[in-house]
């Protein structure tokens, strides 16, 4: 091994290698490599700072011009150069909320099914399939949503919801017609389908950190599967589950392509989730390339900054929760 290494650094030198020369070279290469790797690690830090700084720099004209008003106004008028972020922030939060309301219970159900109920022979193939699906690019969900899912909803689920909740106060405002197909609900449902495999595979991984002895002990005293899940598995993995769900929420908040096609892009806050809305990412994707320099473009960057801050907080909490689980497991 040692002579391989020496040959490596004194290539082409056939004469006997001077020992101290070789040592010097070793030392130099060592320091060089150390600094090389350290700079690469620092680059990762620099990258995040650069992203934040560039967003602040780009957003500054809009933020200083509109001030706090930017966060509470829902006007978005390119001709009058009047911009406010409220409608887009609202849309981002509501679509993600809808997605989480559906994807979390179903995803956890899949994870429980995979770890406790599924026949052994099917466990691996289904688990792998779910993991692979988690890697499908979001534009696929977007195009499917636009061509297939939105028209489907327009003809089935949406008219059904409108007639079902029509006589119920409050809910009839939430599900007020007409059925456009495109809108906040459709975007939320697509997001739900998109983060579903992600939640399922993260929770399955988390469930598998439960030591089998603990489950066996619970089964041994006569617990049913549900009781084992409820009283052993979930308490043991609570931090990890919250972390995984937050990670999925981070994805849903920042998701662009799955939402852009089906959200309808209307900058309004309407009580009905069947109406078109918009999200931060959809607004940026649809308008940035054509936006005029100045306040318009700067306002879009300001939206990006808001999105980045929201998802930074969500992701940071997620990582801290997951780290806590690892500490417990170790």
């Amino acid at each position: 091994m040692a002579d391989v290494a020496i040959k490596d650094i004194s290539r082409g030198n056939d004469a006997a290698v001077n020992r101290s020369q070789a040592l010097n070279k070793f030392r130099q290469n060592d320091t060089l490599f150390f600094h090389l790797t350290r700079s690469a690690a620092l680059l990762v830090l620099a990258l995040l700072f650069a992203i934040v700084l560039s967003l602040i720099y780009g957003a500054w004209p809009a933020l200083s011009h509109f001030g706090l008003n930017f966060f509470v106004s829902q006007t978005w008028d390119a001709n009058a150069e009047e911009f406010g972020a409220l409608a887009t922030i609202y849309g981002t939060l509501v679509t993600s909320l809808i997605a989480m309301l559906i994807a979390v219970p179903v995803g956890l159900g899949i994870a429980v099914f995979l770890t406790e109920l599924c026949p052994m022979r099917l466990r691996r193939p289904i688990g792998i399939a779910v993991e692979l699906l988690a890697g499908i690019p979001s534009i696929i969900y977007g195009i499917w949503g636009f061509f297939v899912f939105a028209p489907f909803l327009q003809q089935t689920l949406q008219p059904f919801l409108i007639t079902l909740f029509g006589p119920v106060p409050v809910l009839n405002a939430v599900f007020a017609g007409p059925p456009y197909g495109l809108g906040t609900l459709t975007a939320g449902l697509i997001l739900a389908i998109m983060v579903l495999p992600f939640i399922a595979s993260v929770s399955r991984d988390v469930f598998e950190t439960v030591p089998p002895v603990m489950k066996e002990a619970a089964y041994g005293i006569g617990c049913t599967t549900w009781e084992v899940v409820r009283n052993v598995v979930i308490p043991h993995t609570r931090a990890g589950l919250v972390g995984g769900v937050m990670l999925a929420l981070g994805r849903a908040l920042g998701e662009t392509m799955a939402v852009t096609f089906v959200i309808g892009n209307a900058k309004q806050i309407s009580a009905s989730i069947l109406q078109p809305g918009t999200t931060i990412s959809a607004t940026i994707a649809l308008e940035y390339a054509e936006a005029s320099e100045g306040l318009y473009r700067s306002s879009l960057v300001a939206l990006g900054l808001i999105l980045f801050i929201i998802s930074f907080i969500v992701l940071a909490v997620a990582r801290l929760m997951l780290a806590r689980l690892n500490k417990l497991g170790a």
Partner: protein, 279 residues
Amino acid sequence: MVSYAARKRKNSITMGLCTAAALFGIMWLLLILVVLVWEGFSGLSLAVFTEITPSMGSVGGGLLNAIIGSIMMTVVAVLVGAPLGVLAGTYMAEYGRYNKLTNVVRFINDILLSAPSIVIGLFIYEVLVAPFGGFSGWAGAAALAVIVIPVVVRTTEDMLLLVPGQLREAATALGLPRSIVIKQVAYKAAITGIVTGVLLAVARVSGETAPLLFTALSNNFLSLDMGQPIASLPVVIYNFTKTPDENMQQLAWTGALLITFTVLAMSISARALSTRKKK
């Protein structure tokens, strides 16, 4: 005390719900794949790979320029991002395993790993597109590289941490300096893992659309010039889906099928590599 029958009933209800959830969720995901394959295959022909994107209202055409643009940008992004990611991961696992810097970098890297990709597009626009006069393939590749780096950092660190300490100790005992221990012992032991990480990174970037929208833009013609706007599969799919032109919509489906196929192939080979290593 709850009776046994009641407990059993509760159990069958909740477990039934879990099974239903699994069937329901998997049904939707399968449905998407079936529609995708159905719609995508019906437009698949040789022309897709040999002709450039059609203009509005014309017939025929393919995705040649988009495929080539995607490949070029992905290759550049991986060539830039993967070495940087491997080096950073090396520092975290080999030199700074127990220090503060590594913890901070790991935390920040995990954030970057799931940061909204459209924000990365905005970032590259601010630092590369606006100051250097316009959309270009280089800017698109840079945006993709920013996505590649955290994926590779993460897997490299994880894989190097799996290399047993005794291997390093044995090499050090022979008098090898640290950099050579890392390069010739640790890397060799972790190489399949690192390659897996790079494959996963390729899978991740080959479907990324948002960061390319206003960095690489798109191009209706075949262009090999990375200094100019360049077409890519995801952006072409995005643009064609929005048109009312049926021919273009068909190409969007076919492109979507190609991307899904690429991504699945990458992740399956990454998985095959990593399971082979475990044996």
